[in-house]
């Protein structure tokens, strides 16, 4: 794999799905303030697959949380689809997430009291779909992810890989414009990791924009672009130039997994 550094482009806000300017996050909790993210600027075109890498404590997760509105930035701007969103209220952010942003976490975070089917239908129901529409979308997603026979199972009965695929299905239920994945393979064995990466590649191939926070170089290699963070700052932002088409990559991973 050959990577090269590229100068920061200056695209107009209209073309960008996501644009962040001078974003920083300072945690103040009793002791000295912790600067988790220091003035990060980044732009993301629709359809891009960005991997964010860096050692523990480099601010990857904090950055992702701010991008999804889970916590507010201390300073800086976030533009989503041409609109500034960093100052939105919690409720506005919730509505934005509901329709436009899907989340996948390291520990899956499925609602344990609900069946797999309920978990996947939840976002569709929340955004006002009828019960039938939600069910159709769920059947489609679970079939695509090979989980059709698990629909009525409780999440606790599934393997880690299966749980993460359910979490992916849930994140994709409303066809979000942005998928944020926080170490989705961090808690999985290599076989299951491959499964999840294959799904990510496939949806990227269908045009899904993805930001993937990961420690895993192999996971990062699926991305179009790799951003390296250190001490809350971008030290490296590279396009992955190896002309691997996403579909080919997916096929490759498929083979890997088999």
């Amino acid at each position: 794999m050959i990577a090269r550094a590229v100068p920061q482009p200056a695209p107009s806000a209209d073309e960008m799905l996501l644009k962040i300017v001078g974003l920083s996050k300072v945690y103040k909790g009793g002791g000295p303030p912790v600067h988790a993210v220091r003035g990060v600027s980044l732009s993301l075109e629709p359809g891009q697959f960005v991997a964010v890498m860096g050692p523990s404590g480099s601010g990857k997760s904090s950055l992702l949380h701010m991008l999804g509105g889970l916590e507010p930035p201390t300073t800086g701007q976030i533009w989503f689809d041409g609109a500034r969103v960093d100052g939105l209220s919690q409720a506005r952010w919730a509505m934005l997430r509901r329709r436009n942003i899907g989340f996948v976490f390291q520990f899956f975070n499925l609602v344990s009291n609900m069946t797999v089917a309920d978990n996947v239908e939840l976002p569709a129901l929340m955004s006002g779909a009828t019960r039938r529409q939600a069910k159709e979308r769920r059947i489609e997603l679970l079939a695509e992810l090979g989980l059709s026979d698990k629909a009525s199972a409780s999440p606790a009965r599934l393997s880690g890989g299966e749980q993460q695929r359910v979490a992916l299905a849930r994140a994709l239920a409303n066809r979000p414009s942005l998928l944020l994945a926080d170490e989705p393979t961090g808690n999985l064995d290599s076989l299951n990791s491959a499964d999840v990466l294959r799904v990510l590649c496939r949806v990227h191939g269908q045009g899904q924009t993805i930001i993937l926070v990961t420690h895993d170089a192999r996971a990062a290699s699926m991305a179009d672009r790799v951003v390296n963070l250190f001490d809350g700052m971008i030290i490296d932002d590279m396009d992955v130039v190896t002309p691997i088409r996403p579909s080919v990559a997916a096929a490759g991973v498929l083979r890997l997994g088999e």
């Binding site: 997760s61 949380h65 999804g68 509105g69 889970l70 916590e71 919690q90 409720a91 919730a94 509505m95 934005l96 997430r97 509901r98 329709r99 989340f103 976490f105 390291q106 520990f107 899956f108 975070n109 499925l110 609602v111 344990s112 009291n113 609900m114 069946t115 309920d118 239908e121 939840l122 976002p123 129901l125 929340m126 955004s127 019960r131 939600a134 849930r170 926080d182 808690n187």
Partner: protein
């Protein structure tokens, strides 16, 4: 909306036991409240109940014999007519005593309107033509029961020997002796025998109308319809007034009960909701990452508990509907003459209030749930804690480490620990107060003298002279002491208020009041008063109060305060010599008798009647303490509800604790704790909180119990001084049962944890 409903559904399914307990608490409290109100209503305003049960008539008219009443049915608003029944005045003779009675002729077939509610024995029967059924309050006043033989004298001389075959309640007329003469029902031939002359009888007819508000209008029309034949008219408002009575002691305790039950319900919902939110922090945060707004999460949490509350309230309404009659059946009619289900509007109103309180109680935890940070979902903050110096020392001293670790774990999360201790301590404190009420009731029943009821009997000279009566009562071996007594009304100096005053004993030998403050009267002009009177006149002990008795001005110095449950506590008592010295013409004197210990009231009464040849008038003192028996089942209900509250607190605490400690427990097992040690550790975690709460609650309850009861009594005019602390055995039992219950409750969830494989606990 759909998403929220689906989440609520799965959450309810995931914890059926908790949901059931929550429903039971709401339902139980509502049932208890509704039953309390039913009893209170039945006790203080019995007319409505009697009227409903007897399908009574609102208007009763006395008519000249032979009056045609068919025209009454044509009057607008009249739904039915009771009677006409022949009626005549007569006298019941029991030895030397004569009581005026109204005989009313009825048939063995019970009428549809104005039914009689047979309390004891049976109704008139063709097989017992000489049988008589007495009205309940009248029967009590003249000491008659089923089987008593009576002689009834007609006005013009005919006499009949009759037998009491039944005792019945009615809504036709007020209680004896507020309303005289007494009422007795006989069959027509017997009435004819006692009063053969038809024109000496009257006809009584009852009119039932659709709307009680039209009573006076319909009564006027009825009088016009029967012009000339109407001798008198009475309406339900008069009957209701004569039956209504205050019952401060019962009312006070019922009110206390209701408030405590309500508080308990609010507490348990708040605690259950709060605990649930704590257990679900991560899932709520996950819902936020999926796009639930804070408002939606708050609404969802509140709606879930409101739904459970609504189900509980419905359960309570249904339970009340079916339990009212069987549960309250055992209450003596002398306390609650009629138990009648409350009107539907009251029930709905109270159920709505209960539901409102549930929503209120869930609101704060719900608001907190809405504010859960979405980052919790991914951060999984583990509560920080460290092994305290104390814990190290205890562990080094060979104390089982499992207990130390468990107890320590209980306090890692400060807020939940405080909530649990608070909830449980509150229940325990109220249970302790309940025990205090129970021991106060015990004390009042065992030592009635403490609430001014030293005397068990009063004796009027009857046919004897005062001297003869005095000689008999003071010579009786069963009587410890006899105090000459008078009851006179006094007009206050302001000229607008009349109060009841009692001359009891003399200054040299005062009646043995229980003095709560100051001293008894030992000189003419001194008096003791009860709290109600002091409040009414804005007086303090030691002050002077001028009044007029029988037109003579008398000035009393109040030297002490007594505890007095009767007359709404508005009583002044003094020595009889005060009256003679002031020149007041003394009203007839009766004697208040204090019996020797061990002598029963009825035995003493029988003996006095026998000695005097039945010529003394001996009356049992109305003992408010006898009505307090009803408190016991209510206290038991209250304690059951509070125990449920405690149960929910403990369950909440252990599920919050387990959620927190799961990883720790995994680690501890990994380093070699046996499953049993893990179990002990988890249980001691909850038990540690419970023990602290129980100790705190019991101490606080013990400290405030007596003061609270006295305060309540003071507010009601009885006066401070009746309160007693809970008894030591009851306290010990309550504490032990509570601690054991908490431990047993904590075992259930702990067993589940022990059954979980270690690897699962250590994983995500």
């Amino acid at each position: 909306m759909r998403a929220a409903l689906r989440w609520i559904r799965s959450d309810l399914r995931a914890r059926p036991f908790q949901v059931a307990v929550e429903m039971l608490v709401v339902g139980g409290v509502l049932t208890a409240l509704l039953l309390s109100v039913t009893v209170l209503e039945g006790a203080t305003n019995p007319w409505a109940g009697l009227f409903a049960q007897s399908r009574g008539a609102q208007i009763w008219m006395r008519l000249a014999p032979g009056t045609k009443v068919s025209g009454l049915r044509q009057i607008g608003g009249v739904t039915a007519i009771a009677g006409p029944y022949s009626t005549t005045a007569a006298t019941i003779v029991q030895g030397p005593l004569q009581s005026a009675v109204e005989l009313r002729a009825m048939t063995p077939a019970m009428p549809q309107i104005g039914r009689l509610l047979v309390r004891q024995g049976s109704w008139l029967a063709p097989s017992a033509p000489g049988g008589v059924v007495l009205e309940a309050s009248f029967a009590q006043a003249i000491h008659c029961r089923v089987g008593s033989e009576l002689v009834i004298n007609g006005i013009d001389g005919p006499t009949a020997k009759v037998r009491v075959i039944g005792i019945a309640a009615t809504s036709d007329q007020g209680f004896y002796p507020d309303q005289t003469p007494g009422l007795a029902w006989v069959q027509l031939p017997l009435l004819r025998r006692i009063e053969p002359i038809a024109r000496h009888t009257e006809e009584v007819v009852g009119i039932r109308i659709a709307n009680s508000a039209d009573t006076s209008f319909v009564a006027q029309q009825a009088v016009a319809e029967l012009t000339g034949a109407v001798r008198s008219v009475s309406t339900w408002t008069q009957v209701e007034q004569s039956m209504a009575r205050g019952d401060p002691l019962l009312g006070l305790l019922l009110a206390l009960f209701g408030l405590v039950a309500l508080g308990g319900a609010v507490l348990v919902i708040a605690s259950a909701t709060g605990g649930r939110v704590l257990v679900q922090l991560e899932e709520l945060a996950t819902l936020k990452t999926l796009g639930f707004t804070p408002g939606q999460i708050t609404a969802m949490v509140v709606a879930e508990h409101a739904g459970v509350g609504l189900a509980g309230a419905s359960l309570g309404v249904v339970a009340t509907r079916y339990l009212t009659v069987p549960l309250l059946h055992g209450i003596p009619a002398s306390i609650v003459p009629a138990v009648v289900p409350l009107p539907a509007t009251w029930i709905v109103l109270m159920a709505c209030s209960a539901e409102f309180l549930v929503v209120l109680a869930a609101a704060f935890p719900g608001w907190r749930a809405g504010r859960v940070s979405a980052v919790v979902a991914v951060r999984r903050p583990l509560p920080a804690g460290h092994l305290s110096q104390l814990a190290r020392v205890v562990m080094l001293s060979r104390f089982p480490p499992a207990i130390v670790l468990g107890a320590r774990a209980a306090f890692i999360r400060r807020l939940p620990a405080a909530l649990t201790i608070g909830g449980l301590a509150m229940s325990m404190a109220v249970i302790t107060i309940g025990l205090g009420v129970a021991s106060t009731v015990d004390d009042v029943q065992r030592h009635p003298a403490n609430i001014g009821l030293a005397a068990a009997l009063t004796v009027s000279p009857g046919e004897l002279s005062q001297a003869q009566a005095g000689a008999i009562v003071s010579g009786d071996r069963q009587v410890l002491s006899a105090y000459p007594s008078v009851q006179v009304n006094a007009l206050l100096a302001t000229g607008t208020t009349t109060i009841t005053t009692l001359g009891l004993g003399t200054s040299a030998r005062p009646y043995p009041f229980h003095v709560a403050q100051g001293s008894l009267y030992h000189a003419p002009g001194q008096a003791v008063a009860s709290q109600g009177l002091l409040d009414l006149l804005h007086l303090k002990v030691g002050e002077l109060v001028p009044m007029q008795i029988n037109g003579v001005p008398v000035i009393f110095r109040i030297v002490g305060r007594i505890v007095e449950p009767e007359y709404s506590g508005q009583v002044l008592a003094y020595g009889l010599d005060t009256l003679s010295q002031a020149g007041v013409v003394s009203p007839p004197v009766y004697y208040s008798l204090v019996l020797r210990p061990g002598v029963t009231v009825s035995a003493a009464r029988r003996h006095l009647l026998a000695v005097s040849g039945g010529r003394l008038d001996v009356t049992e003192v109305n003992d408010p303490a006898s009505q307090l028996g009803i408190i016991r089942p209510m206290l038991a209900g209250l304690i059951a509800v509070l125990a449920l509250v405690g149960l929910v607190s403990v369950l909440t605490a252990s599920s919050v604790g387990i959620r927190d400690q799961l990883r720790d427990v995994g680690a501890l097992r990994a380093i070699g704790l046996t499953p049993r040690q893990v179990m002990v550790s988890m249980v001691s975690s909850t038990t540690a909180l419970a023990v602290i709460a129980i100790a705190t609650g019991a101490t606080a309850g013990f400290m405030v119990s007596t003061r609270l009861i006295n305060l309540g009594a003071q507010v009601y005019g009885i006066g401070s001084g009746i309160g007693r602390p809970p008894s030591a055995p009851a306290m010990a039992a309550a504490i032990l049962i509570a601690a054991a219950g908490a431990t047993l409750t904590a075992i259930l969830p702990a067993r589940r944890v022990v059954a979980t494989p270690v690897a699962t606990m250590l994983g995500p």
